[in-house]
Amino acid sequence: MADALTRTPALAGAPSGRFGLAAGAAPQVAVEALADLAMAQAFAAPGVDLDARLAGRGELRRLGPGQRLVMGATAQALGDLAPEVSAVEQSGSRARIGVSGPGAAVLLARGVGADLHPSRFAEGASAPMLFGRIGIVLARQGAERWEVLVPRSYALSLWEELLEAGRSLGLEARGPGGR
């Protein structure tokens, strides 16, 4: 078997389309399948400043005290930080969904009980929470731009929930299959 194996995107099969929009109207929110990234879950030994050790290794997402997801890194790439920082391979474990537009926070508030106001959830911040009954990690990337990390097994279900919840706002969905 020398032929290269193809990789399947985490959101393969996620439907694209425009929902709840009258002809010519602009969507208030866009839901987009973002490119899959390598990911590693990093743990700190007691007393170790994890964020400091991980500086420069990739964008971090908070999973909890002493635990981060390092975006764009494999566990192997973080191997040199052992034993104070241990890493577990999580590439492919989560799909990345981009939610953007003036209605982005309104759409997210339909599933998320945390306060998403900019004074409470600033740009660069991230936190684990539930969207409805699905566990996600939410990160704010701009005034009207968010990244949602969802476990791969729930990815299609969350995509469908976002599309359904956003219909009354006018939503454009861009799955990995094309625009």
Binding site: R62, L63, G64, P65, G113, A114, D115, R120, A127, P128, M129, L130, R133, G135
Partner: protein, 88 residues
């Protein structure tokens, strides 16, 4: 029952993000402590009319185990701490 829990790691979150295990007052006995001590640990609980300390888990968020001090009469939550803080 509280509607919001102020998780020390995540901030105020709806109750639906948490699961409740039960009384945090009991301490796991020594393995050789004998059947009476283990029976008490597993099956017997006091039920005061007022403040309880319970183990809750933020299963929909940081997944940490927490100790929640709440009044079962007024439903007021007095304190929420990470369970590892001063764990026995």
């Amino acid at each position: 029952m509280a509607s919001l829990i102020d998780c020390p790691h995540c901030g105020p979150r709806p109750r639906e993000e948490f699961s409740v295990r039960g009384d945090a007052a009991a301490t796991r006995p020594d393995p050789e402590a004998g059947p009476e001590a283990w029976h008490a640990y597993l099956h017997l609980r006091t039920n005061p009319r007022g403040l309880h300390r319970e183990h809750w888990r933020h299963s929909g968020g940081c997944r940490r185990w927490l100790v929640v001090e709440r009044d079962v009469v007024t439903h007021a939550v007095h304190a929420v701490r990470d369970a590892q803080e001063g764990a026995q």
